[in-house]
């Protein structure tokens, strides 16, 4: 593998599709590796250290949702699910296991590459860089850390971006579509399940009581906004 190339791990049991994926990824300037079974996925992940994982939801041996959870336990690397099931339940299960995004089969090459680029593009903040606060949390943008008092809260890059987007414009109510565009890079997407599931995951990490959120508040009929600032407890 060459220096400077971003690495993508493809976890899929279909040989033809995996080869096609690797061809397309390499043609687009990525370094790609392939793992065909769920059991070996974590091992390959640790050896290869990819910048992004493309993960099929249906795998022989170990289920894609479990693999997703295992990888998430090790790292905050972006995970994009490849799924033939567009049923709400399966998609939500994958997102809850920690996937950042999903692409439903069959997808177009352009669409897949666009998603991958969005997930790999680090948001380099040009304005407002420095330290932001939301609720009783402190976001250090250059450091990419979120703290409550002295305690560090571990967030995946996507969760960080989501929190940052809300914190940058406190009191502004974001619609789910706007969040999809700003955080996920979608233009005309209508799938608000992504936003809902990730807000739930984020709340479970940062809220004192996720049932009664105070940091990320639901705005009925619109979407979400940052909660009113309060003194740190």
């Amino acid at each position: 593998m060459s220096e400077g190339m971003q690495r993508i791990l493809v976890v899929d049991d279909d040989v033809a599709l995996s080869e096609m994926l690797q061809l397309v990824l390499r043609a687009d300037g990525f370094d790609a590796a392939w793992c065909s079974s769920g059991e070996r996925a974590v091992e390959v992940f640790q050896r290869y250290r990819p910048d992004l994982v493309l993960l099929d939801l249906m795998l022989p041996g170990r289920d894609g949702v479990d693999v997703c959870r295992d990888i998430r336990a090790l790292s905050g690397v972006p995970i994009v699910m490849l799924t033939a099931k567009s049923d709400t339940r399966d998609v939500v299960a994958g997102l809850e296991a920690g996937a950042d995004d999903y692409v439903a089969k069959p997808f177009k090459v352009k669409e897949l590459l666009a998603r991958i680029h969005t997930r790999l593009r680090r948001h380099v903040p040009t304005e407002n860089s420095g330290v932001l606060t939301i609720g009783d949390l402190t976001i250090n943008v250059p450091e990419h850390t979120v703290r409550r008092g002295a305690d560090l809260i571990a967030l995946t890059p996507l969760e960080f971006d989501l929190l940052l987007a809300l914190a940058r414009r406190p009191r502004h109510a974001f619609s789910r579509d706007v969040l999809l565009e700003q955080v996920w890079g979608y233009r005309h997407a209508s799938d608000t399940r992504l936003v809902n599931v990730h807000v739930q995951r984020l709340r479970s990490k940062i809220e004192h009581d996720p049932e009664h959120p105070e940091i990320i508040v639901t705005v009925r009929g619109v979407g979400y906004r940052a909660g009113d600032a309060r003194e740190g407890s």
């Binding site: 279909d14 033809a16 599709l17 096609m20 994926l21 061809l23 397309v24 043609a27 249906m58 033939a84 099931k85 049923d87 709400t88 339940r89 089969k105 069959p106 997808f107 177009k108 090459v109 352009k110 619609s175 789910r176 579509d177 005309h188 209508s190 799938d191 608000t192 399940r193 809902n196 009925r220 009929g221 619109v222």
Partner: protein, 517 residues
């Protein structure tokens, strides 16, 4: 003005609701009638018998005493004593005889005044009797109330009167007042005994009927409860098979029915889950190779300019037809999910006006190709608890359909809300369709004109899926159309998920529709 509660419905419901209540009330009424008739007959017979006997004996007694008094009076020598003294003496004697055993009282109408038993109120002799005795000879009797000059209470009695001829031709009336007190007391005892016996019979009858009704009803109630539990989904519940042949066979029938129901439902559930699994498998098995083909086609399509004309055109056709194939597959899978009952709502509070605006602007480019103007009529935010993905899909479908059939004339999307429901209607002024076709448009793969090519690339399943999406929300999808006047499709969904739609805030027949002459 005070409104009085109407008690009749309460009574009527208890009457119609409770069988034991009905049986007991009926029995009570019948028994009361029977006992009252029997009691009255019994009392009438016994009092008549007793009082008749008393009358006979009283008459006999009175005539004996009267005979004695008459004899005495006839032998009277008026020179030796005054008639008045003699009558007084006779009255005293008779009163004395009557007071022995408390049998009767005597009143003798003397020439000066009435003479009689001590303490008696002479007014106790009825005037009618006095007149009858004075008018003619003979013995008369009549019932009366005997009253007293002292504090004794009135007693019922029999008054017997006759006149004694005295020497000198004068007639002196004599009245006997026999008390019926002992007989009345006897009758009261009989009456009390009859009433008590009647009440005992009544109470025990009602209690017996109540018990019998309950006994008969218990298995019926058990069957009803078992049926209710079955209806509530507890299909493994069974009734206890006990009691007489009839009741036991009722329980057996109920149990067999429950067993059959359970089996059928399990069978259907199995079929449904097999179907869902099949759809899921087909989906996966088809989509993975299709993805590879799709990607390969995309790669070829991107490089078509470097190909020879034949290969270039082929890669274009491959790519566009793959798009169509994908749409068809997606729609087919969506339809089979609905058929399997596997479709689920992912609900959210969403502003329907905003969704309509976004879907409308997403189709602007397509509309421009047809030269169609798109107009949004959404005066206010219409927030409802819906699945935005499905509602967007319905709107996308209705709008592209309108553009395709709109003949380039303007298309208006109306969004309205009332308290219970939100509605969005898509109105075009294109070719339209006949009233009879308004239902057919939702049929799968239905085409108004079989020769017509689908230019927008619809799969023929769009409106069927839209209809299913509307139903899944508990809402309506209605179509109106007239040839040459265009069409209007109206989606109505409840504001709160789980509610049902009673009326739509927007009429399905447009205001500008021409009324047929």
């Amino acid at each position: 003005m005070i409104e009085l509660p109407d008690l009749a419905p309460v009574r009527r419901t208890l009457w119609s609701r409770s069988l034991p209540f009905r049986v007991v009330v009926t029995t009570l009424m019948a028994a009361l009638t029977m006992l009252a008739a029997t009691g009255w007959f019994l009392m009438d017979q016994s009092s008549r018998g007793i009082l008749d006997g008393k009358k006979q004996s009283s008459l006999a007694e009175a005539s004996v005493v009267l005979d004695g008094m008459q004899r005495d009076l006839r032998s009277l020598n008026l020179r030796q004593a005054s008639i008045n003294e003699r009558l007084t003496q006779l009255a005293r004697d008779a009163a004395y005889r009557g007071s022995v055993g408390n049998q009767y009282y005597v009143v003798v109408a003397g020439p000066v005044s009435d003479i009689g038993s001590a303490g008696l109120d002479y007014g106790s002799v009825p005037e009618s009797l006095r007149r009858a005795v004075l008018a003619a000879d003979g013995v008369y009797s009549t019932p009366t109330e005997i009253s007293f000059a002292d504090a004794r209470p009135m007693v019922p009695g029999l008054a017997i009167g006759s006149a004694m001829p005295a020497p000198g031709g004068t007639r002196y009336p004599v009245y006997f007042l026999f008390t019926n007190q002992p007989e009345a007391e006897t009758l009261a005892v009989v009456q009390r005994a009859t009433t008590i016996a009647g009440l005992v019979v009544l109470v025990s009858l009602v209690a017996t009927v109540w018990l019998v009704a309950l006994q008969v009803l218990r298995p019926i109630r058990a069957a009803r409860l078992a049926a209710e539990r079955l209806a509530a989904g507890h299909l493994d519940d069974r009734m206890a098979v006990v009691g007489t042949e009839d009741l036991a066979s009722l329980a057996r029938s109920m149990n067999r029915m429950a067993g059959e129901l359970d089996r059928k439902i399990t069978q259907l559930e199995d079929l449904s889950s097999v179907q869902q699994q099949f759809v899921s498998d087909v989906s996966h098995e088809l989509r993975t190779p299709l993805t590879t083909v799709r990607m390969a086609a995309d790669v070829l399509y991107e490089q078509r300019e470097e190909f020879a004309a034949l290969a270039a055109r082929s890669s274009e056709l491959l790519s566009t037809e793959l798009d169509h194939f994908e749409e068809l597959l997606a729609d087919l899978l969506e339809i089979s999910r609905f058929d399997a009952g596997a479709a689920e709502l992912s609900l959210d509070d969403v502003d329907l006006s905003r969704i309509a605006a976004e879907e409308l602007s997403a189709q602007r480019r397509l509309a421009e190709g047809y030269g169609t103007a798109l107009v949004l009529d959404a005066p206010q935010a219409c927030i409802a608890e819906i699945d935005p993905r499905r509602i967007r899909r319905v709107l996308r479908n209705l709008i592209t359909n309108a553009i395709e059939h709109g003949e380039g004339r303007p298309i208006t999307v109306h969004v309205r809300a009332d308290e219970g429901a939100v509605a969005v209607a898509v109105r075009d002024h294109g070719v339209g369709f006949s009233a009879a076709q308004a239902h057919q448009v939702f049929n799968r793969f239905w085409r108004a004109d079989p020769a017509r090519r689908r230019t927008v690339g619809g799969t023929g399943l769009g409106l069927s899926i839209a209809m299913e999406d509307a139903r899944l929300h508990g809402g309506w999808l209605n179509a109106w159309g007239r040839p040459g006047q265009g069409a209007q499709f109206r989606l109505t969904v409840p504001r709160r998920a789980g509610d049902s739609v009673l009326s739509s805030p927007w009429p399905v027949v447009p205001d500008d529709a021409e009324v047929p002459a």
